[in-house]
Structure formats: structure tokens, C-alpha cells
Symmetry: C2
Subunit: 203 residues, 2 copies
Amino acid sequence: MDVQFIEDLASSAPTPGGGGACACVGVLASALASMVGNLTVGKAAYAQVEADVYVVLEKLAALRGRLLELVDEDARAFAPLAAAYKMPKATDAERAAKNAALQEALVGACDVPYEIMETVGRVVRHIDFLAANGSRMALSDVGAAAAFARAAADGASLNIFINAASLDDEAQAQRYRDAAEALAGRIRVKCDEIFASVKDQVA
Amino acid sequence: MDVQFIEDLASSAPTPGGGGACACVGVLASALASMVGNLTVGKAAYAQVEADVYVVLEKLAALRGRLLELVDEDARAFAPLAAAYKMPKATDAERAAKNAALQEALVGACDVPYEIMETVGRVVRHIDFLAANGSRMALSDVGAAAAFARAAADGASLNIFINAASLDDEAQAQRYRDAAEALAGRIRVKCDEIFASVKDQVA
């Protein structure tokens, strides 16, 4: 474990923040899913799905790389927001400048967690494939990966909600809220379905 | 992010495995909760709870340290289990030796994830306190921390279920299953309550 990242997250420093932490949990979901894939290939019992699992492994590695980039992108999107919140607001001119900076920063602070959710949603499709076709020895791991993915998406959605709430453009705020709610809901349903199926088989 | 840990997790190597990944997600939950605490102390608006939040920050740091140890303990508990699964079973003597090694290793492979769940449960109590008393600016982070803790506990419970299923002592297996089910249920209810309350306030 990278203790420095953990300590930076735990501190009051503006970055890494909650969005980056969600991307990290998504990374762990995809890594655990890859472990299941790697325990499936090369086994006679799973020869029929081996070619498909190799494709899944490549896709999971790419999604994991993207989520690691999104940890940094979330930090880059959050830094100007934290800076804007600290701008003075004593005069009308200061308040106007502060709000302009805030409004611009809020868009990035909604877009990055939404992309984290979309990337996690793609990871979930591969977790779903592995739950049905991967090594039975690693069933608990595929269920844990689904639980992680659900948490990553749910957590990222809260970042969108809280940032959208400060947008002046109410129509834009509602679009962000609706999109985050719908995507989080779809991911939650699928992950709960995978988790329940795994639990039925192992418990 | 510690890319080496992630790559080791993604590989087919026996450790780190699913239990260690759950402990990591618990570490991220506690770090995010600490961030909320660190954003609360030193602010005039939260002076009344400051002393309590400092206590919570100390406890969260200790629990995070324990969860990091549990990542390693899970690996140490899993290694003999993976070794036992690979033992030969061609003769009666080999089968008996293999099963004896398995039965011994399975106990550790149930005990460590259970301790991960218990430690995550303690983290949740502090997340709950921060949801009610921490900085409103960091509400989304306290909700994400609750989502992570739920996933860590749910994932660890699957490791207990799958290992308990291979225990010869059915009464012992049932005790593990019952304990894991009950604790996961309590953590899930509390985390869902925190998450829903946060979402109501930010959405």
C-alpha cells in the first residue's frame, strides 16, 4: 500500500480528495477482477472461455490505467475549485470574480467524477462476465470487486451532487444530477445482482 | 497510488488477495473520514465539537494502521491455504495430509477477514459521528467513506463464507457464517443510513 497517498488523502490538503479516492476504489475493483481473470486462463476447465477472458484482461488493464489517470485529473479539477472557495468576497467586484471562478471550476469538478462513474461502469461489465464465466475458486473475489465498484460509483455521484448544487445554471445542475443518479442506479442494480448471486453460491 | 500493490493484486499470485483488497478499501474509508475531521478542526463554526473530532482523528489513524497490518496478515493467512490447495491428493495418505493442512489454514482464512470486518465496523462509528458533526463542506466525502466501508465489510464477508464452506466442522462453519452475516448486516444498515442522509443533504 502507498502510505504517502493515504496520508495525503487523510490530511486537510485539498488534493487528493473524495473523487480521487473513488477512482482508487475503482482501481481496486478492476485489479481484483483482473486477478479472477488471471486465475481463470491456463486452466483446462475454462479453455472454452480463455480467449474471451484474455480480451477482458486487456480491457480491465486499460480501464485501470484510465482510473489511475482520473485520480490525477480529479486533483487537477479540484485545485481551482478549492482556490475559488478561498477567494475574498468583501466587495461586489470580489464576489463577482469569486463566483465566476467558482462556476468555471464547478463544471470540471462535476465532469471528472462523472467520467470516473462511466469508467467504473465499464469495469462492472467485465466483472459481470467473470462472475458468470470465471474460475469458481475466485467467486468471492468477483463479488468483492462488484461491491467495490458500487462504492466507487456511489461515492463519485455524491461529488457530482454537491458540486452541481453550487452551479448558477439550474438546468445544467439538473442535467448533472439526473445523469449521476441514473448511472449510479444502473451500476448499483448490476453490482447488487452480481454480489447476491456470488453470495448465494458461496454461503 | 501504489502501482506495484495494484499489479500484484491483479496478478494470479496468491497474495495479495480479496481479503487484503477489502482491508485497503477500509483504509481508504478511514483516510477519507480523517480528511473530513481535519477539515473540521480549527474552524470557528465547529469549535464546540473540536475536542471530540481530535479524539476521532486519533482513533481513525489507529484503525487505519491496524487495517494496513491486516493487509499483510491476510496475505500471511492465505499463503498456507493456497499451498494446501496445491498439495497432491493421489493416495489416501496424501488426501489426509492435504485435508489436515486445509482445515488448519481455513480457520486463519476466516479469522482475518472477520477482524477486517470488525475494524471497519469501528471506522463506521467515527464516520457516523462525522456525518452528524463534521464540516458541511465535506459532506460528500463522509458519504463516500460510508460507501467504501460497506464495500470493505461486504467483500470481507464473502471471503469468510467461501472459506467456511470448506470447513469439515459444520458447527464451526455455521458460527463463522452467522457472525459474518450479522456483522455485515449491521455495517450495511448503518452505512446505507449515513449515505442516504448525506445524499438527501447534497442532492
